[in-house]
């Protein structure tokens, strides 16, 4: 439950905003000082489990003629891809483990088991999304250039298909992420990157994704000989399961009811405290058990992740109570709930915004404006 609704969000004075920033900085400092062996063994254990699941999944699929083996193999491979993308790839590429100095966990060298090439992801995610979080027109994660996710996006008859596009995006999420950086929706607009740059990025996507395609849909099926179709189907299913899961978790990060969107002019010359405040107001958490948090890549602690994108994600659960207490003291909302509830409001928003208008709640106040 959010602890405050939109109307309750207090207008903090500039001094309060900076004090909030200082309190949040103090948490960062404390965790940074404490990083060590525990974090190193955690991420290595997750990697061991992921690689084990992958080998087990791919091996079981070779015996996929037996239905239980096919199901178990597909499940193991799905889990492997989920762990690889969510708790390992996303977090390692944020630089959460760069302090270790281990070349295998270096954010600038890491690649992940998905179509999107790591270098493009780091730019669009670490920089664009995490810096300009929820700023409509700048944060391309708001609708991925295909969906209408906020009433601030002007309605167009195209958006009648919002639920259909969302379903397709969910099923093909890794391709949505990979093609996201090509910014096809901006072709011909003033902020277009231009043909040459788009071509360069497209080549990068093709180089990365053809290897992914060859591995899942050519090499492993061929190695299975007569059982090729079963391996092909298992691999395709694992990719789809990962796509659906990632879509659900990621769309619950910024689009459940109660999360705020911002206009570009609100965020000009933002201070550190204001940036923190925007991250707090624009993110939402998911409640669940330890396994759920791990499988979500700890994006279930989206609020903590957006405050501290480069702290090891398994630490978020430990600092969440402190962040929540700070929010309570400043009267700020701390948006959290179970997956079913949060995702339910996301689905409702996608459907509602297919139609013109769409402002369902009271007019949004800009809590950042006062402080600016």
């Amino acid at each position: 439950m959010s602890e405050a609704t939109k109307e309750d969000i207090p207008r903090l004075t500039p001094e309060q905003v900076e004090a909030l920033g200082a309190e949040l900085d103090a948490i960062r400092q404390r965790v940074t000082d404490d990083l060590g062996e525990r974090d190193a063994s955690y991420i290595r254990r997750v990697i061991r489990v992921q690689r084990g699941l992958e080998v087990a999944g791919r091996s079981l699929l070779f015996a996929g003629i037996l239905p239980p083996a096919w199901l178990a193999g597909t499940a193991a491979l799905s889990l492997s891809k989920i762990l690889d993308n969510m708790e390992i790839g996303h977090n390692v590429m944020h630089g959460q483990y760069d302090w270790m100095g281990d070349p295998a966990l270096d954010s600038r060298r890491f690649e992940w088991d998905t179509a999107s090439p790591a270098d493009q992801w780091r730019h669009s995610h670490n920089y664009m999304h995490h810096t300009f979080t929820n700023i409509v027109g700048k944060d391309r994660d708001v609708g991925y250039g295909i969906l209408r996710m906020t009433e601030e996006q002007r309605w167009h008859p195209y958006y009648l298909g919002n639920p259909v596009y969302a379903t397709l995006l969910a099923l093909l999420f890794q391709w949505g992420v990979a093609l996201h950086d090509l910014e096809v929706d901006r072709i011909g607009k003033p902020d277009d990157m231009g043909r040459a740059e788009r071509l360069r990025r497209a080549r990068g996507v093709w180089r990365k994704s053809r290897r992914q395609l060859a591995k899942d849909y050519l090499l492993f099926p061929l190695l299975a000989g007569p059982f090729a179709p079963l391996v092909f189907a298992g691999n395709a299913s694992a990719n789809v399961v990962r796509n659906l899961w990632a879509f659900m978790i990621i769309f619950c990060g910024h689009f459940p009811d109660g999360t705020e969107m911002f206009a570009e002019d609100e965020c000009e010359n933002e201070s550190r405290g204001q940036w923190y405040l925007r991250q707090l107001l624009g993110s939402a958490n998911l409640e669940g058990g330890r396994l759920f948090h791990i499988l979500s890549g700890n994006l279930s602690h989206q609020i903590e992740h957006h405050l501290y994108p480069d702290l090891p994600a398994h630490r978020y659960a430990e600092i969440a109570p402190e962040v929540r207490a700070i929010c309570r003291r400043y009267g700020l909302p701390y948006n959290t709930g179970p997956l079913s509830k949060q995702f339910g409001t996301v689905v409702r928003r996608i459907c509602r915004l297919a139609l013109p208008g769409g402002r369902s709640g009271p007019p949004r106040r800009a809590p950042l404006a006062e402080a600016a």
């Binding site: 060590g36 100095g101 730019h123 990365k208």
Partner: protein, 363 residues
């Protein structure tokens, strides 16, 4: 061409099998799976397992290492970068190899003495256990014996500077070298004399080896280097010296005065240079661009841009790591936390770090 050991024959996987293996294990690569079976099975990275830890003299231990197949061997006198993980963080330091370049079992030995401020040397001597995995870099350094071996050799060392010349002595003995080798070593006390027993044993087996140890704390005159310690015919020797700076300076002086500096080969053993942290005052060197600028208190990214450079960057607020680059020397201060960095090589975010004294960046 210097003789070098190839630790173990390198396996040559048929290229098709290798390519299939890489394709099947992409994007992580075969090594990331092999290492889960055994950390030494990786092919793209040189690693070694500590097989044994042998206490030597005071505060000193020898690590017997079994390198994997990526180890390319070394020449006597060379050093290797050794990376060890302490509390989750990899630390890299260079150590001279002490063992012979011709060991049959493919092992290499590092003899490490605790440096008073040395976190790594302390860890290796006191905490390293058999089974610990270290990462190694390629052996390097030109403090090596020429081939063919000079007929007359003089090896001089002080303290833990004995390791590269010990490697030379062991290598020469393994080669059956029969020219006279004088081995002059300076140690503080008998208990500090590293390899004393082994050198004596080598001298017994090899009549051409003539060791002499000077115990600097036990000699009446303070035991510093002087010409009287040298063999009479030292002017005929190819001489190799390694040790603390005062020893090397004294030896260099003597050889210079004799006009024989071309016959003297030196290896400095020095603790990492520590520079004082001086906020803002200093020079920032962007080494790739060959640009140097006077440092100030602004983030290095802004200073690079002010100097006309265009380093890659993103958020300019320390979150996206788009601006991370290598600092090769100097200290920086994190403007968000106020924390001062070490002065070694490391990756830093130039958008939130300001120079603290002289800094060199790979930009």
């Amino acid at each position: 061409m210097l003789p070098s050991t190839a630790a173990l024959p390198r396996p040559r996987l048929p290229s098709l099998a290798r390519r299939l293996g890489e394709a099947a294990t992409g994007p992580h690569g075969l090594d990331r799976y092999l290492e889960l079976l055994s950390p030494l099975w990786v092919r793209g990275e040189c690693r070694a397992r500590i097989e044994a830890v042998r206490p030597e003299a005071t505060d000193c231990a020898t690590l017997v290492l079994r390198p994997n197949r990526a180890w390319d061997g070394m020449a006597a006198g060379q050093h290797v970068p050794v990376s060890v993980e302490i509390d989750g963080v990899c630390h890299e330091r260079r150590f001279s190899v002490a063992s012979s370049a011709h060991r049959r079992d493919g092992r290499i030995e590092l003899t490490v003495k605790i440096h008073p401020d040395g976190r790594v040397s302390r860890h290796l001597v006191t905490r390293a256990r058999p089974g610990t995995i270290l990462r190694l870099g390629p052996a390097a350094g030109d403090f090596t014996l020429p081939w063919p071996r000079p007929p007359r050799l003089l090896l001089i060392s002080g303290g833990s500077g004995i390791t590269p010349v010990m490697s030379m002595l062991r290598t020469l003995c393994d080669e059956g070298h029969d020219g006279r080798v004088d081995f002059l070593h300076y140690a503080r006390t008998r208990r500090d004399a590293i390899f004393a027993d082994e050198v004596a044993a080598l001298a017994r087996r090899h009549p051409n080896v003539h060791p002499r140890t000077i115990l600097t704390r036990e000699e009446r005159d303070g035991g510093r280097f002087r010409a009287g310690h040298l063999p009479r015919d030292h002017t005929d020797c190819e001489t190799y010296v390694c040790g603390p700076a005062p020893l090397i300076e004294a030896v260099t002086d003597h050889w210079d005065r004799a006009g024989l500096s071309h016959r003297l080969h030196r290896e400095f053993f020095r603790p990492p240079a520590t520079r004082p942290a001086v906020d803002a005052a200093g020079r920032v060197c962007f080494e790739r661009s060959g640009v140097t600028a006077a440092g100030d208190g602004r983030p290095l990214l802004e200073q690079a841009e002010a100097a006309g450079l265009t380093p890659a960057h993103g958020c300019r607020m320390g979150i996206c790591r788009g601006c991370v680059c290598r600092k090769t020397a100097g200290r920086v201060r994190d403007l968000q936390t106020g924390r001062l960095s070490g002065d070694g090589e490391e990756d830093i975010r130039i958008c939130v770090n300001a120079p603290a004294g002289d800094v060199t960046l790979q930009i």
